[in-house]
């Protein structure tokens, strides 16, 4: 084999993608990283110097601490809620008789295809000062004062759970499909109660699905833009909306680039370390 000339075909077949990606992904990403190493002056713009002052500013400033803290707190909370409601829902879906199973699978997954803007708009209509929440509150006799979840952490959490929970459901659903239903029967005949079967047999087998769903939900929440921008607004800034403002309002591109780089690095670190964890923990147990 070693004497044979290297087959060029696979390189030719992947070349269009690779060249396109180097020029239009590699170069812009590199430029963003380099940009983050310049300083910025509000009168003269981007400086030609090299500095890590942007990173120091982002990592040292309590203002950014608050934003990063809020973002990852939000991501954690949304992930936990998605686990708490998405896992049982996937279980219910898997045990529904057809045709209900197909119908509700469509209902639960279908929203993933609908623009995030539209889905968030729905919650904005609920949350707004003249929204349904206010109507319900006044109907229940809580007075005419508007009840609003707009520009609140709670509002963002609810809307993001709605946007992202289908990813948890589908991930757990896929794991559930792989379970041998006889393994649950086997545990039952060995004397386990239904609750024990759920806890000791079913749940451990869908753990990989729960973990991969969690990582998807966490990563997408941490970098979410549309929902925090519409529901959270300027009052509840997260990393993505803060970077957006640096770029398009303050025009401090180098600082915005530094925020983007940090977000990217955190994102990749989380995904990669998750994959390592799964490999170590589950390699012997599951395919």
């Amino acid at each position: 084999m070693s004497a044979k000339a290297l087959d060029k075909t696979p390189f030719l077949m992947t070349a269009p993608g690779v060249i396109f990606f180097i020029m239009l992904l590699g170069v812009p990403m590199l430029m963003t990283f380099l940009l983050s190493l310049h300083s910025y002056d509000f009168t003269t713009g981007i400086q030609p110097d090299w500095t890590i002052s942007n990173y120091i500013e982002v990592l040292g400033d309590p203002y950014f601490h608050k934003i990063f803290g809020r973002t990852f707190g939000l991501a954690l909370l949304v992930t936990v809620i998605c686990v708490l409601i998405g896992v049982p829902e996937a279980y219910v879906l898997a045990h529904l008789p057809n045709p209900w199973r197909s119908v509700f699978l469509l209902v639960v997954l279908g929203p993933l295809l609908i623009s995030v803007v539209v889905r968030t708009l729905g919650w904005a209509l609920f949350f707004g000062g003249k929204g349904v929440l206010t109507m319900i509150a006044s109907g229940l006799g809580f007075g005419e004062e508007p009840v609003s979840l707009m520009f609140t952490f709670t509002g963002m959490t609810i809307a993001l759970v709605h946007v992202l929970v289908p990813f948890m459901v589908i991930s757990v659903w896929a794991s559930l499909q792989k379970i041998d239903p006889q393994s649950e029967d086997a545990a039952l005949t060995l004397g386990a109660s239904k609750l024990t079967v759920l806890y000791r047999i079913t749940l451990p087998q869908v753990m990989p699905g729960i973990l991969s769903g969690s990582i998807i939900v966490f990563a997408l929440t941490a970098s979410a833009f549309a929902t925090p921008a519409i529901i959270g607004g300027r009052r509840m800034k997260v990393v993505a909306t803060a970077a957006y403002d640096e770029y398009l309002s303050t025009l401090n591109w180098p600082l915005g680039a530094a925020i983007a780089v940090i977000l990217l690095v955190v994102n990749i670190v989380i995904i990669v370390s998750y994959n390592k964890l799964v490999e170590r923990r589950f390699a012997k147990v599951f395919e």
Binding site: P16, V108, V118, G128
Partner: protein, 264 residues
């Protein structure tokens, strides 16, 4: 099949209500006959759907999105098909690196892609152009097309192609008559998923699009940050109905669950 208890079914009903509530809310508000946000308690009206016709910027943005999604999904598939065949079928040095590279946009937050393209295009003078937007979308959606193509190419029976070769077919004939028809479902599914992903994309496009090349989500986003009115609800309702149609097609031919496993 084990029966579900009443608690499980109650939970399920609440969950489904939670999923549908905001969508139903949007649809309900779009039928109001009032000039402000309200539920259509005094009867249904189509005035806000007629109002879309008086707002050409939404219609223009819609066509930008459709055209952008059509072209970018097609380019993504053209890139993905040969790449998927090489990656799935051949062993060559750098194979895994190339695969990871072509799938890497999945790991990059759209915001990061957006700021990267914003700076890049302003440097090379493509800022706000349709072609810049197009290239950015191709980068974003190629991984989706690639992943579905890879799944089909991996499951391809080698023997069928070998059999065709021994029966006297040329390499190109084998590709055209055996390989392509076998991976076509995956490729078509990948195209459709790419189309929808491009059509719905907001975060990256918001950085790259200029007022002249605004996509529908970007147009809607800017509208919502200014004002939330029944007009945006009626535009959204139209989108929901269109998406529902696409969803039925996707589910009919591929099964939604198969397409979404591992998306994101």
């Amino acid at each position: 099949m084990r029966r579900l208890g009443p608690i499980a079914l109650c939970f399920h009903a609440l969950f489904v209500a939670f999923i549908l509530a905001p969508l139903l809310m949007v649809v309900a508000v779009s039928f109001t006959d009032k000039g402000y946000l309200s539920l259509p308690t005094d009867g249904l009206s189509l005035r806000w759907f007629r109002a879309i016709l008086d707002n050409p910027d939404f219609i223009d943005a819609f066509w930008v999105s459709v055209w952008l999604a059509l072209v970018s999904a097609t380019i993504a598939v053209i890139i993905a098909v040969p790449a998927s065949l090489a990656i799935a079928r051949k062993k060559f040095p750098g194979r895994e690196v190339i695969a990871a590279f072509l799938l890497s946009p999945l790991m990059i937050p759209h915001l990061v892609l957006g700021v990267a393209f914003l700076q890049f295009y302003s440097k090379i003078g493509l800022g706000g152009s349709f072609y810049g937007l197009l290239a950015a979308h191709v980068i974003l959606i190629t991984p989706y097309a690639l992943r579905l193509a890879l799944a089909s190419a991996t499951g391809l029976p080698r023997e069928a192609e070998d059999a065709a070769l021994t029966l006297g077919a040329s390499r190109f004939t084998v590709f055209r008559r055996i390989t392509l028809p076998l991976i076509l479902p995956g490729v078509a599914g990948g195209w459709l998923l790419s189309f929808i992903t491009s059509f719905d994309e907001l975060t990256m496009s918001v950085f790259v699009a200029s007022p002249a090349t605004q996509t529908l989500p970007v147009r809607m986003y800017h509208h919502i940050t200014q004002t939330i009115d029944p007009l945006i609800a009626s535009v959204s309702t139209v989108l929901i109905v269109l998406t529902f149609g696409v969803m039925l097609i996707l589910d009919r031919f591929y099964g939604l669950d198969k397409i979404f496993v591992g998306k994101g």
